[in-house]
Symmetry: C2
C-alpha cells in the first residue's frame, strides 16, 4: 500500500480490503502473469480512483461493503488500460517496475489487459445495477476511443489544444468523474449532488492529466518514475508543446518533423517549451481546472469526506511542478 494514505487510516484500511479483492481478481492459470499483475499492484499506485469512489460514497448512505467491489472495478479498469497503454507507448517501466509489455512482450500484455477488463464486468454483474453497468461500459468505450485518437495523433504537429483537451477528457478525466459518480449514486446522493461530484472528478482529472503531461517536461525521473521527455520521444505532443507551437518562429517544428529524436533534440524542445512560455500556459490551464474543482467542492455539504477530498485534491494538484 502506497504510504500516501498513512495520514488517513480509515481510507487506508478500506483500500487494503480493496487490494485483497484486486488480488483475488488477478488469479490466472498462468502463474507468471499472475505474479506480474501482483507486482504491478504492489509497485505502489496511489489507488486514487477507488478512494475517490469511497469518498463520494461518504456523502450519502452506502455501506462500505457495497462500495468495495465497485472501487475494485475502477482500479482493475485503470490497470487494464495501463497495460494496453504500455503496449501502444512501448513503455518499459511504470513507477520503476518493468511493464508487462516489456517483461513478457506485447502478446501477453494484450490478453492480460483483456482478462482484467473481463474481471471488471464479472465483478460488476455481481455488484451493481444495469444502469451503472451501462454507464461504465460507455466510459470504457470513451477511453478506448481516446486511446485510438491519442495514437493516431502521434507526431502530428497540427494537433489543436481543443483536440488535446477532448483526448484527455476521455482518456483520464472520464474515469475520475465516473469514480465519484458511482460512489455517489450507489450511496443514493441526490441527483444534484451526484452531478456535482462527477463534475469535480472531471475537473480534477483534467488538471491531473495536464500536470502529468507537464512533468514530462520538468519532472524529476525519481518522482515521475520515467525519464524526462518520454512521451515526447514517442511522438505524444501534449499541452506544453502545443502551446509552444502556437508561438511564431518557435524553431521546433523542424525538429519535430524528424520523428526520430536524439537526446539533444529532446533537450532543445524542452528548453524551447520553457523559454517560449508553453509550459507556463499549461500550468495556467491546470490551475483553471483545479480552481473549478475547488469552487464546486466548496459548495458541497460539510462532512469528513469533503474534508479528505479537499486535502487530497490539494496535495495532488497544488504542488511544485
Amino acid at each position: 500500500m502506497n504510504n500516501y494514505w498513512n495520514q488517513y487510516p480509515v481510507i487506508k484500511k478500506d483500500l487494503e480490503i480493496i487490494e485483497d479483492i484486486l488480488k483475488e481478481n488477478m488469479k490466472c492459470r498462468d502463474k507468471e502473469i499472475e505474479e506480474s499483475l501482483l507486482m504491478m499492484l504492489s509497485s505502489g499506485g496511489k489507488m486514487l480512483r477507488p478512494s475517490f469512489l469511497l469518498l463520494a460514497g461518504g456523502f450519502g448512505k452506502a455501506s462500505s461493503k457495497k462500495l468495495y467491489p465497485l472501487a475494485a472495478v475502477i482500479e482493475l479498469l485503470h490497470m487494464a488500460t495501463l497495460i494496453h497503454d504500455d503496449i501502444i507507448d512501448n513503455s518499459e517501466y511504470r513507477r520503476g517496475t518493468p511493464t508487462i509489455h516489456a517483461e513478457f512482450g506485447p502478446n501477453y500484455a494484450v490478453f492480460t489487459g483483456d482478462l482484467l477488463f473481463t474481471r471488471c464486468f464479472t465483478l460488476l454483474s455481481n455488484n451493481t445495477s444495469m444502469d451503472n453497468m451501462r454507464r461504465i461500459s460507455n466510459v470504457i468505450a470513451k477511453i478506448c476511443q481516446g486511446e485510438i485518437e491519442q495514437y493516431s495523433s502521434h507526431y502530428q504537429i497540427d494537433n489543436t489544444v481543443k483536440q488535446y483537451l477532448r483526448r484527455i477528457s476521455t482518456k483520464t478525466a472520464a474515469l475520475f468523474s465516473l469514480s465519484l459518480f458511482i460512489g455517489a449514486s450507489e450511496a443514493k446522493c441526490s441527483k444534484q449532488l451526484t452531478a456535482k461530484l462527477a463534475n469535480i472528478g472531471l475537473n480534477i482529472g483534467m488538471a491531473f492529466q495536464i500536470i502529468d503531461d507537464i512533468l514530462d517536461y520538468v519532472g524529476s525521473e525519481d518522482i515521475v518514475g520515467k525519464p524526462l521527455g518520454n512521451d515526447l520521444k514517442q511522438g505524444i505532443f501534449t499541452l506544453p508543446l502545443l502551446y509552444t507551437l502556437k508561438v511564431e518562429n518557435n524553431g521546433i517544428e523542424e525538429i519535430l518533423k524528424k520523428k526520430d529524436y536524439t537526446a539533444e533534440d529532446i533537450r532543445n524542445i524542452i528548453t524551447k517549451t520553457i523559454e517560449l512560455g508553453g509550459l507556463k500556459r499549461a500550468r495556467e490551464l491546470a490551475k483553471k481546472y483545479t480552481d473549478k474543482a475547488f469552487k464546486i467542492l466548496n459548495t458541497l455539504p460539510n462532512c469528513e469526506s469533503k474534508k479528505i477530498l479537499t486535502e487530497i485534491t490539494e496535495t495532488l494538484l497544488i504542488r511544485e511542478y
Copy 2:
C-alpha cells in the same frame, strides 16, 4: 452476407438485421478504424455463432427482437478476440482480407478490439439479465486465459493432448456453447434442454477447432484463406502434430526445436504428420466430438431449428478434409 445462408432465407433475414446492429456498434470517431471494421464484417465470416444463438432460441419461446442484440454481442465478442488474436499470431490476412493488425499496426488493433469488447457490454446491459452478463463475462475470461495459454505453449514440443484440448475448449468451444446456451435460456427452454444445447455447442466447437487445425496441414489456401502450415510456422503445435510427436523416432523433434522454420521444414513436418498417422488420429477425434454432438441433437424435440441445426452441423463437420 456470406452466401452460406442462401438456402435458409429465414436465418439469412435474421442475420441481416444482426449485421445492421453490428454496423451500428462499429461506429468510431476514427473513420479509418470504422472502415476497417466494416471491411472485416463484410469479408464474409459465416456468422455461425449468432445463427446458433437464434436456432437455440427456436427451441423455446423468444421473440427474435429480443435475441437479435444478444446474437450481435456474440459476434462482436468473436470479432474482438479475432482482432487481438491476429496481434498475437502476427497474422496478415484473415479470410483473404488484411487484418487490422497488418493494416494499422498492433497498437490500433489493441484498442479496436477493446472497443468491440466494450460495445458488447453496453449492448448486453441494455438487453439481458445480470445472470447472462455474469455467464458471458466468465466465458470471455476463459477465452483470455485460453489465449494466454496458447501463447505460452508456442514452440513447446512437450505439450500434451490434454492441454491442447483444454485450450481449444476455452478458446473456441466455450463460445459455441455459450451461443446455444444464451439462445435457449432467453427463450425459456427447460434447464435440461438448455444444458443439452450448450453441450451440443461444446462438442461442435471442439470438432470445429480440431478440423480447423487439421486444415493447417491439408487445407487448400483458397478455401482456408491462409497459407498451409501458417499456425505451425508461428509455433502453434496442434493436434495432428501432437499425435505425431507421440510416435517414437518421428524425426521431427529436431526440426521443431529450431523455431525458425524454412518452407522445406514446414513441408517435411506436414509430410511426417500425414505419414505417421497424426492427421488420421486427429480426424478420428474430430469425428468422436461430431458423433457426440449428433447423438445429443437426436434426442432434441423435433422442430425447424433442430432440422437446420442438424444440417448446418453436417456441412460444418462432415466434409472432406
